[in-house]
């Protein structure tokens, strides 16, 4: 459509209709978003390398030759291979007792199987490297790299016709990656669920745009509505990177309890806490977060100890679907997620609302959209 404000250079680069990127752990959401004319990136870090290859093949079969992406979180500070057993031995007795007390007070049974540290997010240098090799071997159309720098892999990726997108939280990270030759930059503000920096979306995006030249920039962090999409394009972004928006979609494989919590949540129902893994991040409030905010609670351990400390409880909570303790990471835009809808409807809603905003900007009576 000539003059369409939603047709950006990202649309031309990837052959997509709408400059909307979904970051999701659900392969079903990936396929549905792509088939609705937008773009989707599978969160690949939580898969064993073999399983990641299976997921990529499944998506490829669903999208009929359309491009898709895989996101790998290159850890920027991580231990070498191995190490879980040694770390477990270092956990203080006070913390072990506190967690045991939580289990007893709330009748949380022992997990049926040993904690799956890898699926919970434990990573080391070796595991990250093997995941990356899968992405290269499978020649995924887009490799999005969170946290770590993709610079060392750019040549190998481009030789395989893989476009590499780098996710940054600071302008200096963007500058480094632009100089190395990434194909696009995702500028993520602190409104996001993950903690990638202290700079808000409205500040980081135009700052990165100003140094990116012709390289497309995606805005990330709190993007949940068509108004956010329109605003991001006005900031100079060529598209948006969204996560929370898709968690409660019909195609999402999240537990229905989590979907219900997301739909009921407002921005005030999220909390920045280190109690899950030792990293500060935004998550939905739960009994677990409340326990760690109580006066009796010790200071959460740093990463990776806090993960190792709570892994068995988290596994049991999920196995037994113990609702008060189930949690999910969520960006500040979670308050805009009010119902579980099909992905195609979410994409259409974003696009229609953004177009209405742009139409309003050019008419004498600005259109009021949303609630």
């Amino acid at each position: 459509m000539p003059g369409d404000p939603l047709h950006t250079k990202l649309c031309d680069m990837l052959g997509i209709q709408y400059p909307v990127f979904a970051f999701t752990p659900s392969r079903e959401v990936v396929a549905a978003v792509i088939n609705a004319g937008a773009f989707a990136v599978l969160a690949g870090t939580w898969h064993e390398p073999d399983e990641l290859a299976t997921q990529i093949k499944w998506i490829r079969a669903q999208v009929g030759g359309k491009p898709f992406g895989v996101d790998l979180l290159f850890p920027a500070s991580a231990p070498p291979a191995g190490g879980i057993e040694e770390l477990m031995a270092d956990i203080p007795e006070e913390h072990r007792r506190f967690v045991q007390g939580i289990k007893e007070r709330h009748n949380i049974p022992d997990a049926k199987s040993a904690p799956e540290h890898y699926s919970l997010g434990w990573i080391n240098q070796d595991r990250a490297r093997r995941q990356l090799d899968v992405a290269l071997e499978e020649r995924v159309p887009v490799l999005a790299v969170g946290l770590g720098s993709p610079n060392f892999i750019l040549e190998a990726a481009h030789e395989r016709s893989i476009k590499v997108f780098g996710l940054v939280g600071k302008p200096r990270q963007a500058k480094r990656e632009l100089e190395a030759g990434v194909d696009a930059i995702i500028a993520q503000g602190s409104d996001a669920a993950g903690h990638t920096g202290n700079i808000g979306t409205f500040s980081i995006v135009p700052e990165v745009v100003s140094i990116a030249g012709d390289v497309p920039v995606l805005a990330a962090g709190g993007v949940t509505t068509g108004r956010h999409l329109a605003a991001a394009l006005c900031l100079g972004a060529a598209g948006v990177w969204t996560g929370t928006l898709w968690l409660a979609s019909e195609e999402s494989d999240k537990d229905p309890i989590i979907k219900k919590k997301l739909i009921q949540a407002d921005a005030d129902d999220t909390v920045h806490s280190r109690c899950v893994s030792g990293f500060s991040m935004r998550i939905l409030k739960s009994q677990w977060t409340e326990e760690w905010e109580s006066p009796e609670a010790p200071e959460p351990l740093s990463a990776p100890y806090q993960l190792l400390l709570g892994a068995e409880v988290h596994q049991s909570v999920n196995e037994n679907r113990i609702e008060p303790f189930m949690f999910e990471a969520a960006g500040q835009g979670v308050g805009f997620v009010k119902e579980s809808k099909p992905v195609a409807e979410i994409v259409a809603g974003l696009v229609d609302e953004a177009r209405a905003v742009f139409d309003g900007l050019t008419s004498e009576s600005p259109v009021r959209t949303g609630g």
Partner: protein, 87 residues
């Protein structure tokens, strides 16, 4: 689980003793998200390369800045996320 990818250890004399900042971070357990951890310290010059093309990690010690509760005085930092005074 597959065998680890061969890792080659080495020493970079140009890096040894240099003050650096590391925009570190890692995935966050159970969330599908990631989080930053920032460090400042001195590089020892020791490194490890994983795979081909090599993915290089430097050992940083003498940490003058580290996340709350971080128990060690050393961290392995991915080379692309190290920033020096003259950057």
């Amino acid at each position: 689980m597959d065998a680890p990818i061969p890792a080659v250890a080495g020493f970079d004399p140009d890096a040894a003793g240099k003050r650096a900042e590391c925009d570190g971070g890692a995935p966050v357990a159970g969330t599908g998200m990631a989080a930053r951890q920032e460090f400042t310290g001195l590089l020892t010059g020791q490194y490890v390369d994983h795979g081909d093309p090599p993915w290089r990690w430097y050992l940083m010690t003498g940490l003058s800045r580290k996340p709350a509760g971080y128990p060690w005085d050393a961290v392995w930092c991915e080379s692309g996320n190290l920033f020096f005074d003259d950057d």
